[in-house]
Amino acid sequence: MTTCIASERQDHIIAWFAALAIAIHVLESAIPSPIPGIKIGLANIVTIVVLVQFGWRTAAWVSLLRVLIGSLIIGSFLSPTFILSLGGACASLVVIGVAYTLARHHISAMGYSVLAAIAHILAQFWLAYLLFIPHQALFHLLPILITVAIITGIVNGSLALAVHKRLKLLIQ
């Protein structure tokens, strides 16, 4: 009985946060990016907040639902954008999952955010290289992409920290 309630509650949490993430995801996709291929990835904030608040399993659900439903809404489902998005999300989840199991009590939203951003870009980069542009010259973009990933990771990290603080107050 308790498990049922718990899972129902968890479903609600997943649904709510996924909806929030999808909204951000869709909104962000409507804003033209200053540099092609570079996005702040505000929707990742939701994943990180859910991770620190509710754990990895919930975060994974939120993240994957966001990618799936978000792409259906934008109309990019199964397109290259979707594949890159999914690849990035999976890699982020794996990396933060490992970090979560190893050092849950040491890392805050900031650390996860930076790790997720780097994992995200590396996975997208490799996928782009392997699937779409198998060209050595692409490697010359990598330093820039990683630099941007670290910056967006820190920015999203501080936002996630702030959101998490308020959320904790709210829940209390």
Partner: protein, 120 residues
């Protein structure tokens, strides 16, 4: 923010120069230019042979000139002409792209080129 966060950020930033150094280390003059149309196999042209190419992209024809060992976009149907502004490329690894038209130029040289010299 915790100490572990700080360690993560510091390591990430510390590792960055490694990438820049590895990838933007010493440059060599290019020997060929790859013209990459989104979704197609790159077409390789020698930088030694002067020519003007019309490359069909999403919006229309981009005009690529190869002249005296350099390559550049000299005409483009895209609205902001960023590709033309990026100018002439001649070093290994230099790239220029017309993203609206889905066309990229990339100069290939040592370390990537399979040949030391091309006979024609």
């Amino acid at each position: 923010m915790t100490r572990a966060d700080l360690i993560i950020i510091v390591i990430a930033i510390a590792a960055l120069p490694l990438f820049y150094w590895q990838l933007w280390g010493p440059n060599y003059p290019g020997t060929d230019v790859d013209i990459i149309v989104a979704g197609e196999k790159p077409q390789r042209h020698s930088l030694l042979r002067n020519q003007t190419l019309h490359i069909h992209g999403r919006l229309g024809d981009s005009i690529v000139a190869i002249k005296n060992g350099k390559a550049a976009f000299i005409g483009s149907p895209c609205p902001n002409k960023q590709c033309i502004r990026s100018g002439w490329l001649d070093d290994n690894g230099e790239t220029s792209a017309c993203l609206p038209n889905g066309i990229m130029l990339s100069v290939i040289g040592d370390g990537i080129a399979r040949f030391d010299s091309i006979n024609f």
